[in-house]
């Protein structure tokens, strides 16, 4: 993962304890990483504060089909524009959030319903595999319920 992805995963609490500690140590030592971390948090905060908007039909497909040459490296941009950083980035972030909020999924905490997913998997497996062997496991208590 690059630094931005790592910090994004850090903010989303997706890192294991070891990696999290490593990230915190690096952030403590690097002014640049602290700035990036602040930016990521600011972006998350702006996005979370906005209402849900449904993306227009085909939005994702159009975005993903865009010419790769048009993709801009945020890291390069950040370095290039460093002198005007905070306000310009905050403004850009807010504008991007307002214009493109529909394209950025809300990062809501989701609890995978393990018992239900296990049942769904076993139902499917029993359609082309042994019925008893595939379904007996889900009808005994497994302590997977929330």
């Amino acid at each position: 993962m690059n630094d931005e992805s790592l910090l994004s995963a850090y903010v989303d609490d997706e890192l294991d304890a070891t990696t999290r500690a490593e990230v915190e140590a690096r952030v403590a030592e690097s002014d640049e990483l602290r700035v990036v971390l602040d930016d990521v948090r600011a972006m998350r905060s702006v996005v979370r504060g906005l209402p849900d908007v449904t993306a227009p039909a085909g939005f994702w497909e159009r975005m993903l089909a865009a010419d790769a040459d048009e993709v801009v490296s945020l890291a390069d941009e950040r370095r290039r524009r460093r002198p005007r950083t905070r306000w310009s980035f905050a403004g850009a972030a807010a504008a991007a959030a307002i214009i493109g909020v529909a394209a950025i999924p809300q990062q809501e905490p989701v609890q995978p319903r393990l018992a239900t997913l296990t049942q769904s998997h076993s139902d499917r497996a029993s359609l082309d595999n042994d019925v008893v062997i595939n379904l007996a496991g889900v009808v005994v208590s497994q302590d997977l319920a929330p």
Binding site: M1, S5, L6, A9, D12, D13, E14, L15, D16, A17, T18, T19, R20, W60, E61, L64, P105, Q106, Q107, E108, P109, V110, Q111, P112, R113, L114, A115, T116, L117, T118, Q119, S120, H121, S122, D123, R124, A125, S126, L127, D128, N129, D130, V131, V132, I133, N134, L135, A136, G137, V138, V139, V140, S141, Q142, D143, L144, A145, P146
Partner: protein, 341 residues
């Protein structure tokens, strides 16, 4: 006389050939072809046969404790019920309904599903023994991986073709999960069909997941992972996506939904790390479950095969397949005197 002299070498050839061929035919009892035929037949019997029995599920949980529970199974020509009351699975033809610890679930065969690979596609199969299982005469089939290690054993009823037992082994050869009949009666097809408590559209059974051909690219995962082959993709009523795989003997699903993992709301499980990504692993009666978050998606993999093979699939899904040795740390955990031949 000349003819007689010429006949002698020919007779010798026949004798030698017979001497070599007959043992070969006998040895053929243990060949992959026979094992594969037995397993294919067992699937048909399971779906369409008539039986009633007690099934025991034994597995090693996340704490290393061996758990064992029994339930009942009854089937008559494609209509079956496994379990009882609030924890039961029901099948009628190509439909399945399950009521368990989770919400009621529903599945239909659908036309979009690809055919599962043959049992021997990814495994070396061999008939290795004869023994009695659930008081029935059975043959035992071993499934070996590419390294020649036995990773599963199947006991098939020699008379009815019913699969009586499946044992999954870890890389060290220890049995870690068994589903088996401990008693079974083969019933007549004229027997009363089991009373399925749930019928289509009633009894709290929701919509079945819908087969889909394509998913947005951020939900895309590989069509082949190790020996697993993608057999179908399904959109669930809650918006989640299921990628369903099979390798001929075992199955695996990758579930994806948008968001970040609410770790505090999950059962404890076995904390693990997939090259820096926080994850949690569960060893259950149904198989291995792995949960992690990645790129704004909550990922849940459920597989009934050997744990290390499920974890290898997780490595493929997460893109961490080539990055490290975490697999070795994650796969073989607590072992104990839990064995079956």
């Amino acid at each position: 006389m000349i003819g007689t002299r010429r006949a002698r070498p020919a007779l010798a050839v026949v004798i030698v050939a017979t001497t070599v061929w007959l043992p070969a035919v006998h040895a053929g009892a243990g060949t992959p072809d026979r094992a594969e035929r037995l397993l294919k037949r067992a699937r048909e019997v399971s779906a369409e046969g008539s039986y009633a029995g007690i099934v025991e599920v034994t597995w090693r949980d996340d704490t290393g404790t061996t758990q064992s529970q029994r339930t009942i199974a009854q089937g008559v020509e494609g209509t079956f019920v496994i379990g009882m009351g609030v924890q039961s699975s029901h099948g009628v033809g190509d439909e399945r309904f399950t009521k368990g610890e989770g919400d009621p679930t529903h599945a239909e065969a659908g036309s979009g599903a690809k055919k599962a690979p043959a049992p021997g596609a990814a495994w070396e199969l061999e008939v290795v023994a004869r023994r009695r299982v659930a008081y029935r005469p059975a043959v035992v089939i071993a499934a070996r991986d590419d390294d020649g290690r036995t990773r599963a054993k199947f006991a098939v009823d020699r008379e009815t073709g019913q699969l009586l037992r499946r044992a999954v082994l870890n890389r060290s050869g220890d049995v870690v999960r068994v589903v088996e009949f401990v008693a079974i009666n083969t019933t007549d097809d004229d027997s009363p069909r089991p009373q399925t408590e749930v019928a289509v559209g009633v009894g709290g059974v929701g919509e079945a997941p819908v087969a889909i051909d394509d998913v947005p690219s951020r939900f895309t995962v590989r069509e082949e992972m190790g020996g697993y082959r993608l057999l179908g993709r399904y959109q669930h009523p809650d918006g989640g996506i299921q990628h369903y795989y099979g390798d001929g003997l075992f199955t695996l699903s990758v579930f994806q939904s948008e968001g970040v993992v609410a770790w505090d709301a999950l059962p404890d499980g076995d904390p693990a790390s997939i090259e820096g990504l926080r994850s949690r692993v569960y060893s259950t009666a149904s198989g291995t479950i792995v949960v992690w978050g990645q790129d704004g998606l909550v990922m849940t993999v459920i597989g009934d095969g050997p744990r290390d093979q499920v974890m290898a699939a997780v490595a493929d899904v997460s893109g961490r397949a080539d990055e490290g040795s975490w697999l070795d740390d994650a796969v073989d955990f607590v072992l104990g005197p839990f064995d079956w031949e």
